[in-house]
Symmetry: C2
Subunit: 458 residues, 2 copies
């Protein structure tokens, strides 16, 4: 019955919990922009204060970048869990596409239900607060925390996590637990909870092509001078063939064929690709010919242009022949694809195809391999049952197209398996203007953690 009491406490406290979330969302902790470094520290301190109030021994831990939050609390015979989330958020541009200031969170009633609107509402502040609120309710009912818990929040997830690996290495003994709980993923379908068992990796690259030593007049030099923007478009256009397959030599080394049982399990999910694409104004899966939609986002690697710029981009027109052209390119990795080998293949391809009078400069923006969870750990089945009790549909083991490198690092550095359980929805507009998190995700997410922690400690 005590679980029911905890769930009731969560229901009763919902409005206050939403208020606490809005306080955290009001802090513009954009990790990729140096101008917001102070805000990242403020967000970390806010979390330490809140966790301390729950009885955790919580601390802000300095790093060369933004600080980590580490908290320890509780006890019991159940498994010692490490809960992970990140308090940093994506940049907000283009700002003019937001229907309200991104760091002035508000509750909005929409045709699809009540939402919390703000940058970070879904990725990841709203999600990490579901776990904290579950602990709060448990504490209120039991006077103790739900089992032995270590909480670990980072502030560099949206900017390549430069400090994460060294921090895990330096604090391995302190952070090692029986299993990690990571809340940075989504529901499979609108109301179907999922436990992610495979994640794509990520390689980020920035490239600058330089031709003339300064911007030139396209009348005086057009036709005789190398145009680096033209060179860049040829290089980027050559990265895919006409079937949408990446052309880099060796790119598909380590990409496993999809196992038949997984193929069958995914087919049973009846993924509605049309609805998924229509939501964002598209109608046709644009991936490699012959692959299913779920393969395109879960088990196939990608190469995407995330940004590019060259020459005059302001109002009006400027007949300039630019000196430089830039692009930010990322690769999503699967199976055993080697991040560094793929970075090298990309750089070799560019260098090999550079025309005379052009030079290329590269800057790396992180690299992480894909990861695969060991679903035979008993906690997976206990969590799946607990989730199925909370939600109308049975929980599924699914993949994720996103990269959550920390799961790979927990395995490689702490030899710890991870359960990735999250409550975001496909229309949450992660990384986009008008990001939101459904109040239902927040509320049932909190209840879900109470059920899972109860099951793990039952």
């Amino acid at each position: 019955m005590t679980l029911a009491t905890v769930l009731d406490a969560i229901d009763t406290d919902l409005d206050a919990a939403l208020g606490r979330l809005c306080d955290l969302l009001a802090i513009p902790s954009i990790s990729t922009d140096p101008a917001n470094a102070g805000d990242c520290v403020r967000a970390a301190n806010w979390l330490v204060d809140d966790l301390s109030a729950l009885g955790f021994k919580a601390e802000v831990r300095e790093t060369p970048g933004h600080p980590m939050v580490v908290a320890h609390g509780g006890d019991g015979d159940g498994p010692h869990v490490l809960f992970y989330g990140h308090y940093d958020v994506q940049p907000v541009d283009p700002l003019d596409l937001w229907n309200r200031p991104p760091f002035e969170p508000a509750l909005e009633d929409t045709p699809k239900g009540r939402v919390i609107r703000a940058r970070g509402a879904s990725d990841d502040k709203g999600q990490l607060m579901t776990f904290i609120e579950a602990c709060r309710a448990w504490k209120a009912v039991h006077g103790t925390l739900p089992g032995k818990i270590t909480i670990f929040f980072e502030g560099e997830e949206e900017s390549g996590s430069p400090s994460l690996v060294p921090f895990l290495q330096d604090n391995a003994d302190e952070l090692k637990a029986d299993i990690a709980l990571i809340c940075d993923t989504g529901l499979f379908a609108d109301r179907v909870p999922g436990i992610v068992t495979q994640l794509r990796g990520l390689v980020g690259e920035q490239i600058t092509i330089t031709g003339p030593n300064k911007d030139l007049h396209s009348g005086m030099f057009g036709g005789i001078a190398m145009n680096p923007a033209r060179v860049l478009t040829r290089l980027l256009a050559g990265l895919h063939d006409d079937n949408g397959r990446v052309t880099l030599p060796g790119f598909y080394d380590g990409v496993p064929p999809l196992p038949d049982d997984l193929r069958a399990q995914w087919a049973a999910l009846n993924f509605d690709a049309d609805a998924f694409l229509n939501e964002v104004g598209l109608s046709a899966p644009a991936g490699e010919t012959g692959k299913t939609p779920l393969e395109m986002i879960w088990s196939e690697p990608t190469c995407e242009i995330n940004g590019m710029w060259s020459g005059y981009t302001g109002a009006g027109f400027k007949t300039v022949l630019p000196s430089q052209a830039h692009a930010k390119v990322s690769f999503r990795l699967v199976g055993q694809q080697n991040p560094e080998a793929i970075r090298d293949a990309f750089r070799a391809y560019v260098t090999r195809n550079l025309p005379e009078d052009c030079t290329a400069e590269f800057h790396e923006h992180g690299a992480s391999p894909a990861s695969q969870m060991a679903t035979d750990h008993p906690a997976f089945e206990q969590a799946r049952t607990a989730l199925s009790d909370e939600w109308p549909d049975t929980a599924a083991f699914v993949g994720s197209g996103g990269s959550i490198p920390v799961a790979g690092y927990f395995k490689s550095i702490l030899d710890m398996d991870s359960m990735l359980i999250g409550f975001a929805k496909d229309d949450d507009a992660l990384h986009s203007p008008n990001e939101k998190y459904d109040v239902e995700s927040f509320h049932k997410g909190t209840r879900s953690w109470a059920r899972i922690l109860n099951a793990l400690n039952g």
Copy 2:
């Protein structure tokens, strides 16, 4: 003797003349940026005041865009000349590459001599002032202006001259003269004056490709969602073949073969392509295989990317799959190429090659045909002799890669031939950071106009 006296007056007055030029350069009359509209009016008024002081009947004439300056003065038996220049300038970005504020003009001593450093120093304020200073010196010596002169300055040359054609049509009787003098071109070589007899035309286009209806998370959607940046790179990369030839159907219609006599004349100029390219950090002519360097910049059409942008272009990295990708593209035209036909061919090519789920939007940024001067008019030979007297080398009839549409409009609307005579140098950094104008160009340019006006009225 009187010409010598005028030339002496020019020499004596040089410092004061440079001071006047710096006053005009200090006005940031950037025509393409609406924020500078007031500065364009200030520049026009400054010129009207200066011309009035010389005895011209000068007026600022309103247009739907930036105003024109029209002034009439002088008399005599020589041909009635219309002098044209433009008081507007290019934008200044990237501002951080300037070694001083672009609108705080200053004289600098460089290894190659004394220069005036400021945006517009060479294009075109410094050049138009050479004519005004020649008139000033003549007036000081003779008490009259050097012949019957109409002066016509526009303020939209750097932004497609939207008001020019209607203004010429509405004021044809007033502006028609025996011949036009246009000062917006350069010396052929550092000290070899040129009279431009052919000019390339220009078509400006802006294109926006839209895929998803908002920016997406490249983890969640990467691999299944159409990326408009990838679509744009493929479209732009397809505009040239491997020999640097433009692929648009019908693009070369109306491009004449280079006449043998012109080919011989240009060969005799001994154009130093290596020096021309080395000056901007390049070493190899990048135009169509088999064409000479002078053909590439004077008699061959081009297609250039002047700007492009998509997705995240700030500091750090953002794994966004952009909703839109943009480019500014221009075409330089020669012979009888039809600007509208080429704009249509470009739009048809883009539309034809758009994948499912992508839309294209186009915005036009001006269009003008190429033009060819009638060098049999006696003024051409008189001017060539006068220029040859001032400069160490004999003046040459040359081409220009730049577009000076007004010359074409003078012919088509006013039935008036133009002599394009200018004193800019290849290293003036037109449209680039650290634009400059050599004091020698300004000084000998002023003396050149005195000689030419003397010859025309002799």
